[in-house]
């Protein structure tokens, strides 16, 4: 996994609550057996018209989205399906962080495993970010768990300490779990081969 330390970028605002993973990447693109090629399909049905042409009024098609690495999203972003294709599509488009007031659980977990940082901010800050001029940038510093606004104010955001450690150092969870082989084997020996380990 690619480490995440610091990121300064303009914001791409998407002022819609409850954006589900079917919007982020529609199910018809999930027939792929690869992780690649999903960036061009990100928000496909909002982004392109019936002829496949980019819709000029959709934010990802506007000049301000070019090169921007932070998506500013509405509440409960990423709800719905467990498809990891959602963070794959977002990162392949170029996003490295999403700021919102809350994230759906599975999407948040999937994002953390793909170096896509979910940043939760309070409601007032969230509203303030939406009101920023389009050229304004914000800076995310993972080590200090802060988001620096253009005027120099710093806003703390919560991050699970283990997820933070993995992101800062580019640690892959599977490698970490495999280091606990002895504990896993001991658990299996203790609980026998029954499918149901309870009791």
């Amino acid at each position: 996994m690619k480490p995440f330390t610091r990121l300064e970028s303009r914001l791409v605002p998407l002022a819609i609550d409850n954006v589900d993973t079917d919007q982020i990447i529609p199910a018809r693109f999930l027939k792929t057996i690869s992780k690649d090629g999903l960036g061009s399909q990100l928000f496909c049905d909002w982004r392109y018209d019936a002829q496949g042409q980019p819709k000029p009024d959709f934010i990802l098609n506007q000049p301000r989205a070019r090169g921007a690495e932070i998506l500013l999203a509405g509440d409960n972003f990423g709800c719905g399906s467990s498809r990891e294709h959602a963070p794959w599509a977002l990162t392949q488009f170029g996003f490295r962080a999403v700021i919102s007031t809350s994230f759906a659980d599975i999407f948040r977990q999937n994002s953390l495993k793909n170096s896509l940082l979910p940043v939760v901010v309070p409601r007032e800050i969230h509203a303030e970010l939406f009101a920023l001029p389009q050229e304004a940038t914000v800076a995310i510093d993972l080590a200090s768990e802060t988001l620096a606004l253009a005027d120099g104010r710093k806003v703390a955001f919560p991050i699970d300490p283990f997820a933070k450690h993995c992101l800062l150092n580019g640690i892959d969870e599977l490698g970490y779990i495999r280091q606990q082989e002895d504990a896993i084997a001991a658990f299996e020996a203790r609980c026998g081969s029954a499918v149901n380990t309870l009791g």
């Binding site: 919007q23 399906s81 896993i184 499918v195 149901n196 309870l198 009791g199």
Partner: protein, 466 residues
């Protein structure tokens, strides 16, 4: 200290707890399907790993498979490749796989319980958010992403932070024509699609106890639509009667021992929950959704809400956007609105009891002229049982399509889909924009409501046919 069922199942599966890291949780059963697994198997190959417990892993093909004649090859070359890849991966890694040609094939969340793979007190995961379904047996079951699929394949474990507990009490008794689907749609409408985020639901109360296992599965299935990764119901005699004698359920003495363990699972008297909510089943009507999120639901006698009256600007815009997409007018009832398609099926409502409910309305009646009605059993078992009872004939004679098992039009990956602008009443779980086909407009409802609407060609209160 009194414990909840969540505490008990969680506690029995913690492999280790290292300082500064989430708990390492052991997974008893891993269900695998074609859509979220290929990249995980690639990961195993890249790292030179094997599947740790292939006998605790079970695969089927459900999302991408056609629901037409199974003796024909899959027409869509990309879908065909995905299904073939699942079969090849399962062969390579020694995982039991019930793909297209198997008589055990079906929607992963339908066949797990039918085969007795789903058992009380176990941890069960699948790369699919509707894994919450299996919580109906008192299992801790939740959906995971593909990276986690790879972790479970390789280690049978996941790093997890324990979720908050959320007690969902359903009191009272359902009226005739009101179903489990209406309970869960009412809950989601009440607490919102993010209401359960960070939580595991425990459904309890007399209305839950009165439900059959299949009805309980419908409720747990849609926990994720309220944001909860899992939803559990304590096992009871209804659970054990359903499970007894199923293929992978414990047999003989093992059954007796299992029963003793399972009877200790229900939450203790006085157990404390982080959150709670109560719903009175007696106050519920059949529910229908008007918008593009499962929380946008109303009783069938109600009217489409008016965003103009909403104070939160983001909520106002979300509802307004949904109504534009659905092309519905605020203040008008949804009942009586013309529809184009009815879909009866999915992991929410594709079980034998759902097919029986739909058939009870369609028996001796005909679907409205010009309407397309798809009936898609969730598994071969449900299909065989329905055919043995003559339900297929009822559907066919009514003018509905009787199809092969799969996810089908729930997420429209396999070619079963709404056309742009069409209205569909669906017994599935999501009414997101384009979920059932680009531009398609979904109205979620129970099998009874879907069947009643099939007869009239407009959104219809099933109590008319009771």
């Amino acid at each position: 200290m009194p414990s909840t069922i969540i505490d008990k199942v969680w506690g029995a599966h913690v492999v280790s707890e290292q300082p500064g890291a989430p708990a390492l949780l052991y997974i008893d059963m891993h269900l695998v399907h074609e859509v979220t697994s290929p990249q995980a198997f690639d990961g195993l190959r890249a790292r030179g790993l094997v599947v740790r417990r292939p006998e605790h892993t079970f695969a089927t093909a459900d999302h991408s498979v056609p629901t037409t004649d199974r003796t024909l090859p899959i027409v869509d070359p990309i879908a065909a490749k995905q299904v073939a890849q699942l079969e090849a991966n399962c062969r390579e890694f020694g995982i039991p796989c019930h793909s297209m040609a198997s008589q055990l094939q079906g929607i992963v969340h339908i066949i797990g319980p039918e085969l007795g793979l789903t058992q009380p007190g176990m941890t069960l995961v699948c790369g699919d958010s509707h894994t919450a379904t299996h919580g109906a047996f008192g299992a801790l079951a939740f959906g995971i992403g593909t990276s986690e699929v790879e972790q479970v394949l390789a280690t049978q474990c996941l790093l997890q932070k324990k979720s908050k507990s959320y007690r969902v009490e359903v009191t009272g008794q359902l009226h005739l024509g009101v179903t489990a689907k209406d309970i869960i749609l009412a809950l989601i409408a009440k607490i919102g699609t993010g209401g359960g985020t960070g939580c595991i639901f425990e459904y309890c109360g007399p209305a839950i106890r009165a439900l059959s296992m299949e009805e309980r599965m419908t409720i747990c299935n849609m926990s994720i639509e309220a944001g909860a990764r899992a939803g559990m119901i304590a096992p009871d005699d209804t659970t054990y009667e359903y499970m007894y004698g199923r293929q992978f359920a414990p047999q003989g003495e093992a059954w007796d021992r299992a029963l003793q363990r399972w009877r200790r699972l229900p939450s203790d008297e006085g157990a404390v929950y982080d959150k709670q909510v109560s719903i009175n089943a007696a106050e519920l009507e059949p529910m229908v959704t008007f918008g593009t999120s499962p929380g946008m639901g109303i009783p069938i006698s109600g009217v489409v809400p008016d965003p103009a009256g909403m104070t939160d600007p983001m909520e106002r815009e979300s509802i307004a956007k949904a109504l534009r997409y659905m092309n519905l007018e605020p203040g008008k009832p949804l009942a009586g609105h013309a529809i184009d398609v009815v879909f009866i099926g999915s992991c929410t409502n594709g079980r034998i009891s759902d097919l029986r409910a739909a058939a009870s309305v369609l028996k001796g009646r005909h679907v409205a002229p010009g309407l397309r009605v798809l009936v898609v059993p969730g598994s071969h078992d449900a299909k065989r049982q329905a055919e043995a009872e003559g339900l297929d004939a009822i559907f066919r004679e009514a003018g509905a399509e009787w199809r092969e098992p799969g996810c089908s039009m729930c997420l429209a990956m396999n070619g079963d889909q709404l056309e742009p602008g069409q209205y569909g009443v669906a017994t599935s779980n999501r009414n997101f924009e384009g979920r059932q086909g680009k531009g398609g407009r979904t109205i979620l409802a129970s099998p009874l409501t879907a069947a009643a609407s099939a007869v009239t060609g407009v959104v219809t209160d099933p109590r008319r046919f009771a």
